[in-house]
């Protein structure tokens, strides 16, 4: 494993205030784990409900450290050639055909030369994982929604996560010149393998507490008044206590707050809240329920 290099963060508080500077309000557990990830040179596995700022965290850390963000969006059927590297078949094929033509006129390259040639870096297409490893500038690697790939594909990640290297049979092992910070996010649609979890620090991001949510609303929604932000945060918290099919997430809270600002609302009353409820809640049954329980207007 390459040397870790100087730590990116001075202290826990530096992480927290730094993240706040780039517009991400972290709580104790988030800043603590980010700090440790840097110190222990370990990837972070971020899990939690959708829309709680998991992806945003990686982006903010990239912002904070001035690193380039390399993102690998996972999906079903993702494989080696999309995640790690791929040989450029078409170019290789052209190279071989070009060699054949050459042979007819005069002596072309021997097969041995050709083979060395077509399996060189020129014919290698670097995909996100390899790119992150080969980068010489500081990078943050974000593997988004890692729970969407199949169990077998997960194994691809293991070598990178623990050793920060990639083995390519034809070329040998590519080692990282610097250690990227790695974030994996998961929406928890399936259990990740033990092997993957073991290599990561685990961070569970849940819906924020009232105070933090209020601060998030205030920092991300320009022009919102303090009272409105407070009211928004409190209503959202109450909504989350109801048994809804999909509780409102932070991003939905922000959307709602923005809508209210655009509409020029100063204080929310029951009727006004009901009219804009569809921004917070995405199921008709939920909307009806919230209107009934919380707003007592039918």
């Amino acid at each position: 494993m390459p040397d870790a290099g100087p730590p990116r963060f001075e202290s826990l508080n530096a992480v927290r205030s730094g993240l706040a500077d780039v517009g991400y309000l972290a709580d104790d557990s988030i800043s603590g784990v980010v700090y440790l990830a840097d110190r222990l040179s370990k990837p972070v596995l971020v899990e939690g409900p959708a829309g709680t700022g998991k992806t945003q965290l990686a982006k903010s850390v990239a912002d904070l450290t001035g690193a380039r963000l390399i993102r690998l969006q996972c999906y079903e059927g993702l494989d080696e050639s999309k995640a790690l590297y791929e040989w450029n078949y078409r170019k290789q094929l052209l190279r071989i055909q070009a060699g054949e033509h050459g042979q007819q006129e005069q002596d072309g390259p021997s097969w041995k030369e050709l083979e060395e040639d077509i399996f060189s870096e020129d014919f290698l297409l670097a995909r996100p994982l390899l790119e992150a490893i080969r980068a010489t500038d500081p990078v943050v690697l974000l593997v988004d929604e890692v729970d969407r790939v199949e169990l077998e594909t997960e194994a691809l990640l293991l070598e990178i996560l623990s050793e920060y290297q990639v083995s390519i049979p034809e070329l040998g092992t590519v080692k990282a010149t610097q250690l990227p910070m790695v974030f994996l996010t998961s929406n928890n649609t399936r259990e990740l393998s033990e092997a993957l979890k073991r290599r990561c620090l685990y961070l569970h991001v849940d819906y924020p507490e009232l105070d933090r949510e209020r601060e998030i609303v205030r920092s991300r929604v320009p022009g919102i008044s303090e009272e409105l932000a407070d009211q928004v945060a409190r209503i959202v918290r109450s909504l989350r206590t109801l048994e809804l099919r999909k509780a409102p997430s932070v991003s939905e809270t922000l959307d709602w707050a923005r809508t209210l600002v655009i509409l020029g609302v100063d204080t929310i009353d029951a009727a006004g809240a009901k009219d804009t409820l569809h921004i917070l809640l995405k199921y008709q049954a939920d909307i009806e329920r919230a209107a009934k329980e919380l707003l007592s207007v039918s």
Partner: protein, 490 residues
Amino acid sequence: MDLLSDFVTELRKAGLPVSLTEHLDAAEAMHHVPLEDREGLKYALAGTLVKSSSHWRAFETAFEVFFAVRGGHGVGGELGEDGDESEEDGSGDKDGAAGTGEGGQRGKGRSWNGAGGGEGMTPEELAELLFKSLMSADPALMNVVARNAVDRYAGMEPGRPVGGTYYLYRTLRNLDLDAVLQKLLGQARGAAAGGDGLTDLEERLAADEYKARIEKFRRAVETEIRRRLVEDRGAEALARSVRKPLPEDIDVMHATREELAVLHRVLQPLSRKMAVRLARKRRHGRKGPLDFRATMRRSLSTGGVPIEPRYRHPRPAKPEIFIIADISGSVASFARFTLHLVYAISSQFSKVRAFVFIDGIDEVTRFFEGVIDPAEAVARINTEADVIWVDGHSDYGHALSEFHRRWGDEVSSRSSVLLLGDARNNYHASQSWVVEDLQNRARRVYWLNPEPRDYWGSGDSIVGEYAVHCDDVVECRTLRQLEHFVGNLA
């Protein structure tokens, strides 16, 4: 470091899979966080040791015990050390910390069980202070109140091997938090009375706010009690008494109300995960024969060289499921969980039909039609299904023969039959020929028994009589076992 090892051992005992690497990581992580930063330490350990959100509760409990706050809770930073005696309690510093003007109460250092002692606060004063702390949401003040309340009401006896639940209950009962909530709401209403009073929305928001504060206070009391218990009996002993099984390991048949609530919470994500996993398994399970046409089409982009072969995807037949569940008292919650889980993955089956019985039997498939959330349908079964024939005690024999008479012909070679229950038949006739006949008709017959295997066949349990006609009889005590079985079914 020893403390960490003990802590890891305790986590393993609680059922968390903590590997050696994770232990080492935790040890290294501890070097990087200042030890006096308790919250930081907690998250450092959580990040390295706990790898699933459903294990968080067990971790937190163990952490509270092992790394309990010793000494003052940092109230105003001026609390005296609790000292070796641990009976000494700095309850008096609240006036300095909170500045509420309740002067003259400098702590006299009361012993634990001197709850009736008159030198502390009177109940009225305590209630007043509690009210104020909740009104202002001042955590320091809350801790002081929690400490005093535990002093006064918990009546803790040193050396008793208990987990503290009882002390908690006693303290909270005496404080009567419901009344406090009403009072807080009254106050809020009063404050707004100058204007138009509170609207419904505002009132609801205020109520939620105060409930959250009260919950915080309750946790403060719990922490306080735990701290004292640790001082009394040591971390390890206490950890043993407060250890709770992980949600997947809770015995469904003997779950307490609280545990059932936990189970319901994990069931939702669990069934979703299963549905996703099985859908994938079906799609990617096997590769079919080479699809020659698609391969040739594909090869056009590489100049006619077939570099990526394409395969036909096989489409295996989906089984049809008959669930016949006993929903009498003893096994009701087990039946509910199973129905929930099977319906959550019903897309994996061509058809699911559900029957419930006690001594009569009724088809409940209709409840599940057009319902998005299986929980709703399961709730309706309890109230609407017609399952009582004579006296409402389980009668497997009658229920099964009735099933055979009314629906037996519909069981075909494409169906799998699941029988759910403990087969405690109250000494009625078993009618096991029904099961035998079902086995001849159906593809598979399974029996799921929520009782531990050791109890089978004891008392009025006649699972053995049915077992000979089943393809498999499975012990299903926990969600983990249930998930495993249902996963294999599809």
